[in-house]
């Protein structure tokens, strides 16, 4: 076994991050193998070195912080000023727009066209049956759709940012 592997197993042993079986196996090596015993001593020395007391700031540190704290106030929790009703209203609005667009699209399809043979590939909808020109020539509709796309991207960005933040904070 390589020295690095032995070291890793001994570190896990001394810090109690290995399983019961692994602990017994390492103990057995330590009882019999001089190489393992030597590495064990090295690891113990290193562990003691690493466990030094933290460094201290200047003596005025706490006083400085407390002087600043007297001028501060605890901000309200983020959850308290985020109105969930507004979030729900926006969600319902966007959902309705998507549903309406889909309903309109499906409404334009020719469902009763049986002219093609059964085994022949037949698309569900004939896109040329939908008169897009009458919809997208209207500036108001175009603007409305653009606004929805921007809103959609904005909420997607917020959603991903929140997800990342939650993952990083782990929920405190």
């Amino acid at each position: 076994m390589m020295k690095e592997d032995i070291e890793l197993r001994i570190w896990n042993f001394v810090e109690g991050t290995c399983s019961h079986d692994e602990k017994a196996a390492v103990q057995q090596h330590l009882d019999t193998d001089p190489e393992w015993q030597r590495i064990f001593l090295e690891v113990k020395e290193m562990q003691q070195l690493l466990a030094q007391e933290p460094e201290l700031p200047s003596l005025r540190f706490t006083k400085n912080v407390m002087e600043e704290i007297t001028r501060q106030q605890i901000a309200p929790a983020a959850q308290s000023y985020i109105n969930k009703r507004i979030i729900w209203a926006i969600g319902i609005f966007l959902g309705t727009i998507i549903a309406a667009t889909l309903a309109y699209g499906f409404g334009q399809m020719n469902w009763k066209d049986n002219s093609a043979p059964v085994k022949e590939f037949k698309p569900l909808a004939k896109l040329d049956n939908i008169d897009f020109s009458s919809i997208f020539s209207n500036n108001l509709v175009n603007g409305f759709l653009l606004l929805n796309i921007i809103l959609g991207l904005f909420f997607l960005d917020r959603f991903l940012a929140n997800k990342r933040r939650k993952h990083q904070s782990g929920g405190f």
Partner: protein, 194 residues
């Protein structure tokens, strides 16, 4: 300045308007936060300023602390983000492991075995050795050994999985040992006599 109250009880008192209870928290955590900040901001004056900022930010955000994790874990997360913001403002690079050639550059910049400067304590030796590591390594070692955070908690602070934290911790220990062997061979021999 011990009150016999635990962190959550102290925080409840601070939230209820007892600002002095916060002084107990600051007193208790100042060393841990300052040491952690020093890993990112080696200049002591700047580090002290950033550490103060950490406690002020934590105070203002106290309503967001729900007690689901340890207060220390929450505080160190604020410390880390405050350090990164400080470095971004100052435009100082945070040396990452992924950056090619960073370890070689650090070795060249380091001042091993400066003649006339004797390392007299383990603390001094450790501080000098940390100075040779990159920020990722020294931070994870500080969080585990000095700030007494578990691998799960380190994972939360650094935004990584506990298993990844375990691997990174071991790599950091290995690199620290390598640096010490390379730069402080005499001190390592005398380690037991410190």
């Amino acid at each position: 300045m011990s009150t016999g109250l635990n962190d959550n009880e102290l925080i409840a008192r601070v939230k209820a308007g007892d600002q002095q209870a916060y002084a107990v928290i600051v007193q208790h955590y100042q060393g841990y936060v300052f040491t952690l900040v020093l890993r990112y901001v080696p200049n002591r004056e700047d580090a002290e300023e950033v550490a103060q900022d950490v406690f002020i930010k934590a105070y203002r955000s106290l309503a967001d602390f729900r007690g689901e994790a340890r207060f220390s874990t929450w505080l160190y997360t604020i410390a880390r983000t405050t350090c990164l913001s400080f470095l971004r403002r100052k435009q100082q690079p945070v040396h990452s492991l992924d950056q090619p050639g960073i370890q070689e550059a650090a070795s060249q910049l380091s001042t091993p075995g400066i003649p006339g400067i004797e390392i007299k304590t383990k603390n001094e030796l450790l501080r000098r050795a940390y100075g040779l590591l990159n920020t990722d390594d020294s931070t994870i070692l500080t969080l585990y050994y000095q700030a007494e955070q578990s691998l799960d908690e380190i994972g939360r602070i650094l935004g990584i999985e506990p298993n990844a934290a375990k691997v990174r911790l071991h790599r950091a220990r290995t690199r620290l040992k390598e640096k010490m062997v390379q730069h402080f061979p005499r001190e390592i021999k005398d380690l037991s006599s410190f």
